[in-house]
Subunit: 342 residues, 2 copies
Amino acid sequence: MRSRRWTYLKPLAAFAGVFCFWLAAAQAQSDALPSWNDGPAKQAIIEFVQKTTDKSSSTFVPQEERVATFDQDGTLWVEHPIYTQVLYCLDRVPAFVKEKPALAEVEPFKTVISGNREAIAKLSMHDLFKILAVTLTGMSVDEFKTQVKNWLDTARDPRWKRAYTELTYLPMLELLKYLRANGYKTYIVTGGGQDFVRVYAEQVYGIPPEQVVGTMGGTKYGYDKEGRPFLTKEPKLLLNDNDAGKPEGIHLMIGRRPYAAFGNSTGDSEMLEYTKAGDGTRLAMLVLHDDAEREYAYGPAQDLPDTKVGTFTQDLYDQAKKGGWTVISMKNDWKHIFAFEN
Amino acid sequence: MRSRRWTYLKPLAAFAGVFCFWLAAAQAQSDALPSWNDGPAKQAIIEFVQKTTDKSSSTFVPQEERVATFDQDGTLWVEHPIYTQVLYCLDRVPAFVKEKPALAEVEPFKTVISGNREAIAKLSMHDLFKILAVTLTGMSVDEFKTQVKNWLDTARDPRWKRAYTELTYLPMLELLKYLRANGYKTYIVTGGGQDFVRVYAEQVYGIPPEQVVGTMGGTKYGYDKEGRPFLTKEPKLLLNDNDAGKPEGIHLMIGRRPYAAFGNSTGDSEMLEYTKAGDGTRLAMLVLHDDAEREYAYGPAQDLPDTKVGTFTQDLYDQAKKGGWTVISMKNDWKHIFAFEN
């Protein structure tokens, strides 16, 4: 009799097992984004992934076509008050002038090595380009990599006293992993220098060099004294990976239209628009910097009077609304901003 | 008693099982290249894979760094007597002239639509570039893809009466699969147009569009009448992916030095040299077209007096010998050349 009772219980136990498994799976699914508050942004992400990865869905996307592109500055890490790569270039000037001492008296280098922050802030775009040119080109690609790596190891952000690579947004790191766990290939599509971002992208974002699309400069093949070949970074712009340059860079480097794209400024609008214009279910999201306390507030949520970084204008806000893009409020949608917060 | 005898046999059975498994694995390993004859070329490939994928080896390469690059014309498929992409461009001229009838009387289009093969063969490089420019640019990237796809579906090679995509070398297709099975990411690095090769690379070689590096043209972002964004192919050369352009293109698109590189002409020598100059174990191989009967013989094994395609010069042969590159003799190293042979 006893054994019969157990027999009756078996299907129930099996059902309970399946139910627990389903619950755990559902839990794991929602837990993939623990730094996101429940709300329209998190919901949009999860719905997008479900619709494009469920084989029974009419908007299922084969794995090889699953491409997600991310702007970097202001989307994956802090860009305010000045792009990290520009800081790098300014910091490289003394080393450059040491190699060519005659330049110590030549502008804009003279101003930069004076250390006068007010004067440096007033440098023109023309001066800035001169600085970028000499600090980002002229060396071998391997030397450049070493220079950037050394700088990242020692430079510290003045506000948080942290390495710049720690100023990445935890919710976006979770999002990158969540998309990859669902078969998406994640790419950076940045206005920053492609070779600059490649130095740390694999370690910081889990994105390998071949999946970093950025502003591209030419290189020149040559030989050293021992006859060994190497590549020198040339001051020749191949593609400015901003604005319309983003979809152009995506075509050049990936050759597929993304299914999801993430940005935070007018420089990303063509990428998001291009992504959304594709067939099926596509996701376009904009990070809105509206958290003056935990990070910064600028753009439409402007507490800062003037900013030299990517702009989130009212026009962009309107375009987002019209195009069905989702705006991510840092203040409301993100439980945590940085991994080091706790 | 009987049960004890079986107990004694157990370890033996287990050993036999393991042995059979090992044998099967070893068999599978050598069978991964069934169209290759045993010899120095096949041996070089297998040794390279063993040395770079065995974790206990001092020359072990982590999976994310395993990059292998392949030239296409003459390395993965037939290039003689004329590059397939050039044939495509010539075949596109009538459609182009139909759209712009005034050009029917303008050279070099007049000669091309005359169909006079002798006159076409005598066209200058300057004329050829004019033809390439009008047939490869000016349309949207999607239109271009459709045009190439349609042509590939119908065009037939006059010698074998086969689609051009069937004129791929079976031993190289096996090699691509073998490297991928061992964790290598396989790339095409071709002097041909990047967008042209991307149309069929996934289906024919198992190489996705993002792993096709080729001669790169610019695109221009714009909008159609309904306001939908699209990209137009522009007559603007970003990178000529030949000679020194190959390592430059590899840096631009991949950002890593390959561990293995395969070519067949002087246009590949910088890529092979660059590959071999890296640390650890690297493989550089050249396909020698020395099989006049089953394919063609040209270069040092020259039966054909004059060729307009990639040249395997005596200098290249000497460089291969000096640099420790392995020459693949189509005649001796390949059991089969095409999949359709049998």
